[in-house]
């Protein structure tokens, strides 16, 4: 069995965060779920905290990306500058490809 999931995305790829409700522990905050973003960097592949949190092995390792969001899209009442971004680390299994 593969101990590694290969990276599917490259910097610049547009993605949408899955909006599936997390049953247990996850590192994907609700405020980005369902939102469109852009891959900025691949950090590497790491053991999956959703398995580690229950004493599991965390394998297969999941690619972890730095993903960029527009603050004005995340928050309906956002009053900051229109160019403001949120950068957040997200695991690949939470991401879906988004066509331009």
């Amino acid at each position: 069995m593969s101990r590694l999931t290969f990276p599917k995305y490259q910097p610049g790829d547009r993605v949408r965060v899955s909006s599936k409700p997390a049953k247990g522990h996850s590192r994907t905050p609700r405020y980005v779920q369902g939102m469109p973003g852009v891959i900025r960097k691949l950090h590497g592949s790491f053991r999956n905290p959703e398995s580690l949190a229950y004493g599991g092995s965390g394998t297969p390792r999941q690619p972890l990306y730095l993903v960029e969001f527009e603050q004005s899209e995340l928050w309906a009442l956002y009053q900051g500058a229109a160019v403001d971004k949120l950068w957040i680390d997200l695991y690949q299994h939470w991401l879906e490809p988004l066509e331009d």
């Binding site: 247990g24 522990h25 905050p29 905290p49 580690l52 949190a53």
Partner: protein, 109 residues
């Protein structure tokens, strides 16, 4: 379901209490216990976080930091089969009974 740690975008009505308080002895013991539990199943960042995050929101909001850590630790010790909830409750009751005896023996000025 809303979880206590996932609070980006929540309306906050009360200001966050950033006050300090004296460190209690049981808090030091809890921190020490966390260090001697074997890493992995019983002690890891992920397991520890999950135990704290699974505290129901209404309870979480009334608990102090180390009380949350204590409940989180109990959750994972029970989940991993090292202790049962009954064993923890029984031991706590024994200790509490012992303390009340001590209290009676101390002559306060």
């Amino acid at each position: 379901m809303e979880k206590p740690h996932d609070r980006g975008g929540w309306d906050i009505t009360d200001p966050i209490d950033q006050g300090e308080h004296p460190v209690m002895d049981w808090e030091r013991r809890l921190a020490a216990l966390g260090r001697v539990l074997p890493p992995g199943r019983f002690m890891s960042t992920d397991v520890s976080r999950r135990g704290i995050e699974s505290i129901p929101l209404d309870q979480y909001s009334t608990m102090a930091y180390w009380e949350r850590r204590l409940v989180g630790m109990e959750t994972r010790l029970v989940d991993q089969g090292l202790l049962t909830a009954e064993e923890i409750d029984q031991k706590a009751a024994e200790l509490e009974a012992g303390w009340s005896v001590l209290d009676e023996q101390i002559d306060l000025p």
